[in-house]
Each structure stands twice: as structure tokens, then as C-alpha cells.
Symmetry: C2
Subunit: 669 residues, 2 copies
Amino acid sequence: MNQQQPASYRITFEPGNRTVTAAGGETLLEAARRLGLHVNASCGGDGTCGRCRVIIEQGAVNGGASEKISPADFQQGHRLACGAEITGDTVVRIPVESGLGKGGLTTGGRGEVAGRNRARMHVYDIEELREHGLFLPPVEKFFLELPRPGHADNMADAGRIINSLSSQYDEHRMVITLPVLKKIPAALRADDFRATVTVARPVHSGKNFVMDIQPGNWTRRNFALAFDLGTTSIYGILVDLESGKVLARDGAYNGQLSYGEDVISRIIYAEKPQGLERMQELAVNTINQVLDKLLAKAHPPEEAARGAVRREEISSITIAANTTMTHLLLGLDPSHIRRAPYVPASTFLPPVRAADLGLKLDQHAVALCYPAVSSYVGGDIVAGVMGSGMYRTDKLTLYLDIGTNAEIVIGSREWLVCAACSAGPAFEGGGITHGMRAAQGAIEDVAIDPQTLEPLLTTVGNRPPVGICGSGLLNLVAALFTCGVLDSRGRFQRELATDRLREGRSGWEYVLVRQQEAGVEHDIVLNEVDIQNFMRAKAAIFAGVKTLVEEVGLAIGDLEQVILAGAFGSYLDLDAAMTVGLLPEIAPEKFLYVGNGSLMGAWMSAMSNHIRRDVVAVVRKLTSFELSEVTAFQEQYTASQFLPHTDLELFPGVKKRLNEQAATSIPAP
Amino acid sequence: MNQQQPASYRITFEPGNRTVTAAGGETLLEAARRLGLHVNASCGGDGTCGRCRVIIEQGAVNGGASEKISPADFQQGHRLACGAEITGDTVVRIPVESGLGKGGLTTGGRGEVAGRNRARMHVYDIEELREHGLFLPPVEKFFLELPRPGHADNMADAGRIINSLSSQYDEHRMVITLPVLKKIPAALRADDFRATVTVARPVHSGKNFVMDIQPGNWTRRNFALAFDLGTTSIYGILVDLESGKVLARDGAYNGQLSYGEDVISRIIYAEKPQGLERMQELAVNTINQVLDKLLAKAHPPEEAARGAVRREEISSITIAANTTMTHLLLGLDPSHIRRAPYVPASTFLPPVRAADLGLKLDQHAVALCYPAVSSYVGGDIVAGVMGSGMYRTDKLTLYLDIGTNAEIVIGSREWLVCAACSAGPAFEGGGITHGMRAAQGAIEDVAIDPQTLEPLLTTVGNRPPVGICGSGLLNLVAALFTCGVLDSRGRFQRELATDRLREGRSGWEYVLVRQQEAGVEHDIVLNEVDIQNFMRAKAAIFAGVKTLVEEVGLAIGDLEQVILAGAFGSYLDLDAAMTVGLLPEIAPEKFLYVGNGSLMGAWMSAMSNHIRRDVVAVVRKLTSFELSEVTAFQEQYTASQFLPHTDLELFPGVKKRLNEQAATSIPAP
């Protein structure tokens, strides 16, 4: 081993042939992070999750062994990147399951799978906003034709603008910011005192602000951004505030992913020296990346002559995110979020200059973050409540956003209660032996032949399968249970006559894909440990919903509407979800799907000052329950760790089907 | 001559032995400016004013001749710095009359001269503000003892502060700015949830802002700055917002002086590339210099244990300045101020972060500039109207601030009219052959023996005389007129038997100081051209006052109070001023002197949100007259270019005295 540390070495990562100079003693994970390469590290680099496996192709490293790596694989050069210290020039391969996957984020929607029973899509559009009197952009442009100054009228340039806004447009209480004052004299004289001013109307303020001025008439060029800043992925849309149209949408994995998959590992990193700055920088960089992609795409159709949207024509960005992500984006200390009693620095956030955050927007562009309710009921869920229209409905509604944390809101325009429960990462492909995100090659749907017990798969992008994503997992477990391969405790019926069932290194498992058919160099399996993880996740959600409904003195049967939000929700098969007991058994027509609720809320806020105003009251109205402190929740959680539930009366449809199938299709032991 | 331009040379300026490297072809004025050395250049460096005379002691320059330099002086090495191009290493002396003078600004008040009839001093103090219910600092500190977060109360840190401000202090509608949010978690936990917050209450806004947070109780450490940013000098005071006491006052010459003495030459410079940035930088640097001096002096007496005021304990700076200076300070384009129809970029200015302007204050400190009425009725005069209490009085008041521009306001709490008239620089020592500012060695008072016609002088600092400042000029002219040396047209009685009168290069002159008694190497004289300049200045002011009074349908006799402001006003002898017809003949007890009205207004604004609120209405109420457009003004101006006036009935006192003296003391022709 090289003893002359810290010398510096050349580390090359494959695929992609990306090279970085690293000091001896640095870990491969650190080197990859500096390059901006993503290596899965759910645990944030502590060596506990085993997800950051890499393969040393040339050279050698020190350390990086793990019980998650078999002796055979270790022989082949497999190491954990977080433990592997650099000791010389090295070529390292990041296997597909440790990286982000080739295709990047699927933003457009994956293929529909026939025969699946999904929630109806419901999306507010601009017409609906107008119809409900909600369309009132927080930033508007006004074209002014000002009287030229002269002998009898030598009012100041700024006063001339303010008077004209008042007389021509009935816009009052204007303050002109200093950067605009600097531009005014030249701007007014560039086109004979005809100019366009950009006016922002902050809610709950006695003042409106003139934020920009341009010579000539540019009123039809007024654009805004709305972003969902997720722990895993960041999605953005670019909207035309004149027409209300969405001109472009795109997304990217959150650059912070390399520092851990959940908010806790991000907070821990942020507590290190310069850690908060680094977290902020990564979030901002990812938003800037998405912004670049949006700008490359966005051409307002009716304004073709004037070309694509220019960066400086964007006057606002509205961002919805969970409380931790919001803190990291703004550079607020998140450390008390992860320690009892879980106190965020702030739940309400002031508007700030986007450029001050490092966002590549013009000086005049304002950034606004959605307010949160508490450390674990964040601005993303508030945005969902606004964006789904739940805050305005008369129907008793359950809003459910399933991610690493499941967020549950129950109520209507009158009252709202909410709770968050930790579902774990199972539905996002985490905590499962061969789990993965819904990237290219992810198994997203599974059917099982009830006779042969052979699987029928659908993968994202129709690529050779490399792992199982959330919807695939749900459908697989439901199918295995329905076919009788799994019992209600989530254990395999070991005596079944199929070579798909076998005893593996982690106990009994179902072989979903054999290595020769896979896009990876091993079988893809689901074992009983995975199934226990899945059951805990679905149990937490069901118990959360049931507990919260009952805490307010109601029953599940009282729900008049269920709104599903989030990527998982869009691919969620209602039958499968009820079969395993993830969702309560409710008539499918009562289910709505709103897509990315957080992004929808950000969009609405970008379009509507009414929403911006109302959100303050909604946040104050939202009563947050800490489920871990409700005794009933623990009982519900335990009772829910069965397929579908210990109390089959809660799932009469499933009970009926099981009874029918027991009589017909399950092979006798 | 050296032909290898632009080579670089070493230029040394005396006194002070300051050295700078300069390129061949650069002028001495440019080289001096780069060093930050002041060389008078009233014209801004155009070669027309002849004030930037320097003496080449070693080496040689190219050019710099002028009709203002006699052939003998030229032989001695005298040159105009603005025209003298560098051609080699040079040692240059800046003579005392071309520099700022050794003593710098006299901020404390010069010696009183016995027997002079001056206006009574009237200065608002903190007790009077309190008495009138005006004391309400725009920035206050509040000490909060917050409940510690716990199991049953895990509200966000920010919300905890907002709730406590509301329940403990009845302070509502708070917004916490992002920089403060960043500090909150650590600040709250540093002293067990006991902290001091700094709250700003912008007027006419629906919101109040938490601008800073400190662990512990710091409510007694709350300081503010008030500045008068003059074209020539910049004065500042540091106030304790807790006690209302002025802890320190100081001043400095405006660093822009080297670029011209009047606002027009500053505007012309600002129109050059990077010129506006340079003007802003110089104003900011001067304020920072004064700030350093204030901090070195300021020790709150009751807080001795905690030591001197620290920079970061200053939470606001209020600045009063004329419209051009305000534009230059904020970086606003002033170019249309000097061109008909004289349109400023803005008259109302938003509060800005002081640090954004380059002021050396903490991030949380806010800078606020006084609003103006128009291009030539600036924030300084508005500040004077506020600071003198004129805007609240029931008496019909004339407010008069005499500087290069004389500013005239007439009215009371009910109505206000104002006008500015260009008096020229005579009262500040400009435009007079041997005029100078009231620096060390300036002749500030003159008496003349009516028999011998010999002068008796008083100089600033009792130094050998080097020139004549404004008050000296006024008293000299009044004395010469009273003794019959000058006739009412401002011409010398040439036949008088005294060798003090002689015909010089610029016509007839009175020799005030002979070279052997002077602190400069020439006689100090006053010639008829100087007297014509003086008469034009005083005529403009008197005509301005009379025209404005009559424009509103009143007469000078209706005035119930005259408020004099400005440095000149404080040394102005009322008898002399009436004798020459500068001020109307009004009973001396009706005169008040308020000192630096602009600084006083800035101080009041720093102490009182009521003033900040009321100033908006006062500016709207102030009707501005453009005297050059009033026909009567031209007539008045012509009629006023006599001593004291063509219409002696306007000055019955003077008339009476002249008649008496004619009978006794004037030697017969």
C-alpha cells in the first residue's frame, strides 16, 4: 500500500470516463461527489445501507468491504464507495443499480398498463382558475404611454410612472425599487416615454412594487417558474402569465442525492462545516439545470416572432418543498428539525431576490417558498392542499401523498388536519434488495399467472429489467398474495411447486427475473425481508389514515373523496393497493389523482395572488397531529401489518375475492 | 520635452509629500484626484475658473497657462493643474488657497465676534420631541424571554418570536427577513431563548420587519446616524435612540469636490463613462470617513461598562441632501437634472440596505434618503422644513437656507411654497478674486474705521489672513457701503483719500490685507467685479424672497418669523445683511437660526417615525415655483442690484442711517 498519503491520484469513473484528481485517503464516494456523479448512498455515506457498491476495474483501494458484499463479489472488485479509500490511480465502474440510471427522470409519464384501475386524473387548468376568479398573477406587466415632460410638467420620471399607473390602470401604493430607479431615465427615453413596467403585488402588504422597466410594449412577455423541490427529484415548469399556458416542463434528480437519500442524512451533512452551504449550492444548481432545460424548450406559440423565452423575462419563481428542503434551499439551519421537539427555524418564508439564492435569474426576479405547518408537514403538502383544490371543497376529503414520508390530510374548506408518517423508502425503491427508482429498466408492473406462478413484467422504457420500482413492488406483492404465493403474514408458501421460490442468502425469495433475462448480472428477487419492509410501509400509511380519521371522530366510510398525489400515486393500481391493505376500500370513483400536488400548488401560486393570500389562512387552519404520540396509531400499525389487515371486515371486497379464490385456484399444499 | 508618452512618472505633491505614479500626458489635476488630494476646480477641470493654480517646484509640465496667471507668476512656475500635462518627474506645490486648507472643516462653531447682531439659535431637542409626541424611533429593540420549545409546543423559532412580539409588546404584522432567519436558531439557543430583536417599522407599509437578533438583552444599545450630504461638506451625527442623545458629531469635505464645486460639474462628470460610479464612491467614502470619526468619539455615558458604540449596533442612517447629491449617492442618473425641463429620476426614494450602497454598516442597517420636491428643491430643504418645525407652525414663516443655491420656503402648517434661486458661490467664497471657504485663515469679519478707512479683521483660527469667506465678504461690503467707500451701485468712490483704494488688473479695488501681513504671497483685495458678483448673489436672494411672498398674495411685512439655516446663516450679521439688502428689514427678534437645517431634519427623521410619515404629506404640499419663469422676479432682481435696493422705502432703517451718516461722516468729494 502506498504510504505517502496524502499524495494525489487520478480516479476515472465508468461509464462516462469522468476523471477527477483525488488525495490518498479520500473515499471513492467523496471523489464521485466532487465530480457531481451520483452514487446511491441512502445512509449518507455511513457504510450502513450498502447501496453505494462500485467495482474496481483497475488499481486498488483500501477498505470498502461490507457484509452486503459477498466474498465472490469482493473478489471481483466490488466495494462500498463510502468506505473505499483511494491509494493510487484507479478506474471505478458505477453499476447501473448504484447510479441514477441512464434515462434520467421520466417527466412525461410512463406507458399506461392496460387493465389497471387507476384514479381519475384531475388537474386545475387556467380556465378553471379564471372561472373560479382565482387568476390574478402576483406579477403583472403594464404598458405606459407617458406624457413627455415639458416646461409646464417637469415631474420626476418615477412620479410620472406612478401617476400613470394610477390613472391608466387604477394601480396604487407603488414603491419603485432602487435597481429600477437606476434604469428609469434611460428606459423612458429609449422609446419616447413608452415603456412597460413589471409590478409585483406582495400579499398582506400595504405596498406594491415596480420591479422592472423596459422600453416599448412587452406586456405579452411575462413568465414565471413553479418548482417542486423534492428530496429525490426536482421538477419545474415554465408558465406564460399572459395566457396561463405551461410552456415547458422538466426535471432532474436533486444534486443532494449523493449525500443521502432522506432528509435526515441531508440535515446531518448540513451540520458539518460548510455543509449547509454545500447543500444549498446543490439544490440551487439542480434548479438552475432544470431552468436551462426549460428555457431551451419554451417558445410561446403566439409570440413566435419574438422567439424563445429569455431568462430576464422571468419575473418570479415559486417553490414548494418539504420543510428540510426549504431550509436547505434558503440556507436556514435545519438541525433542530431532526431532534425532539423537532423545531424548524421558520415555517413562513419571506419573498427573496432569486439571484440572492444563486438562481440564474434576473435581478428583479423574486423567489417565494411555500409556507410549512411544521418540521414534518412541509410546504409541499401545503402546496398539494392548495393545488388540489382541497382547501376549497365542501366534500370530506382524504389527501394522500405517498413518498418516503406519507403525508395525510383530511378535511375540507371548513377544517383541515394533517399528519406525516414515515413509510420508509420502499415505494421509491429503497430498502428492498433489488429496489430502484422508476428509471429506465425498472420493473413497474407485474402480473403472475395463477397456474404457473410465472411472472409477466413491464419495465420502464421496455428495457431489460434491472430492479423493481414502487409500483412494480406493489403489484408484485398484490399478485403474489392473490395467487396464494404469500400468506397474510407476508410469508411464502414454501411448499408451492415452482422453482421461482427458493431459499437465498437472506431467507426465502421469489425469483422475479433470472440473470440471463436481466439487465444486471444477477437474479432479481423479492425476499421475505423485502416483504416485511413493504408491509411496514403500507401499514404505516393505512394506520395513519385510519388513526387520523378516527381522531376527528369520523370513520373511513365518511370520506367522500380521496385525492392521490405524487409520482407513486399516478402509477398506483387501486385494486392492488386495496388488496394489500395500503388504501382503504372505497369506491374507485371517489378517487382522484392530481399528479405532482406540490408542483401543482406552486403553479397555482405563480398564477394567483388569491392563492398566495389564502395559503396563510390554510396553514393556520391545518392542525398537525404527531402520530407517534397517539396511542391508537401504534395499535393500528400493528394490526395493519398483515395482508390486507388483521381485521378482514375492513376489506370486504378483498375478503370476498380471497374466499372465492381459495375455493378455486390455490393449489393444495 | 519627453516624447516617449505615455511613459510613467513620479509626481510628488506638497505640502504632505504625497507621491503618485502618473502617465505622460495626464494632467496634474487627474493625478491629484487619483491620490484623493483636493485641488479647487470650481469648473470641474475645464480651465475656465482658474482656481486650481499649483506651483511647479521641480521638473516641468506641458501647458497650464491661463489669463488668470500673470506672466510673473507663470515664470515662477504657476500653472493651472487642469491644463498642466505631465511630461516627467515633478514636484508640485498646492498653495493654500487652491487646497482645502489645513484645518479641515470647522464643525464646532467659530469664535463669536462681539457686537454682531445674530439670529437667535433654535434647536429641537429630544425633550421637545417627546413633549410633542414625536419621539418614535423607526427602529426599536425588544427583549424577548421566550418559552422553551417542548413536547407540547414545537412551534418554529420564527413563529415563537412573532407570537412573543405580539403578546409581550403588542407589535404585529411582523416579517422576519432571510438574513435574520439564518441567525435565529443559534441566537435563540445561545442564551436560553432570551434574545433581543431589532424591529423596523417602515412608514406607509402594512408590515414591520425583524431586522436583527442578538442573544441576551441589548435593548439599550440602539444607535442611528443622521447625515447632511452637502455639495461641499458632509456632516454626520451619531444618536442614541434609547436616550435621544447626540453622542458625536463630525464632518468632512465632500470627496467629490475635486471634480467641481457645484452640482452641475458633478453631473457633467457623472455623465462620463464610470463617472456616476466614481461620484457615488466618493460620496460614500466621505460618509464612511465621517462614520469612522463618529465611532471613535461615541461613548454612551450611561453604558460605559459596555464601551464605545460598535458599528453593528447602528441600525439606520438617514440622509438629507439636495436632489443631485441624492442621485449621486444612490447611483441614479442625474443627467436630466441639468437640462430643461429639469427632470430628476425620482423625488421619493425607497429605503435601501446601507451596505448595498457601500456604507460600512452591518447588513441589517437601513439607509433612507429624504424625499425631494424637484430637481432644485431637494431633500435638504425638505429636511430643513421638517427639522426647523416650520411644517408644524401656525406663524407665517420664511425659511431661508443660503448656499450656492439659496432655498426659500414660505408658509406654515397650512400651506408651503418654495423656490430655489442660484445665488452663485459668492457666499461660500467662490467667484470672488480672493474668496475662500470658512477654513483656517479666512477673513470672517471686517470692521472699517469710518475716518481712516483702515480695516480691522478677524480670521478663522486667528491665523494670518489668506482670503475672504462669505460672512467676511458680507460684513466688508456692508462696512464699505456704510462708510461711503462704496456707492449704492457698488462702485468705489475713487476720489477718497486712502491708499487702500487703487486701480488693479481687474479695475478698482480695495486692499484689505497687504502682502506683508497676509498668509499668502499677494495682497488680499476686493474689486468691483467681486462686488458685482456679491450684488448679483444678494439680489437673487432678496428678489426671490420678495417675489415668492408676493406670488402668494402677501407682503414682506406679513412675515411673522424668519428661520435662517445653513453655515452662512449662523455667522450672518443681521444688520449687515439688511444694510446691503440681502435680508428684508424685519425686527431682529423675529429671526431664528436653526443651524444645519438639513442635518436637523435628518436627525429628527432618525428619531421619529411620525416625521417620516409626515414628510410625504409635506413634500406633496410644497408647491415649487420656478422663479425664472415668473416675470416679476426679473424685475425684482434688477431692482435689487443696488445697495440696499433701488426702492429705499423697503429699507427704512438703512435709509435713516444713510441720511444721518451723510450729514456727518462722509468726507466731501
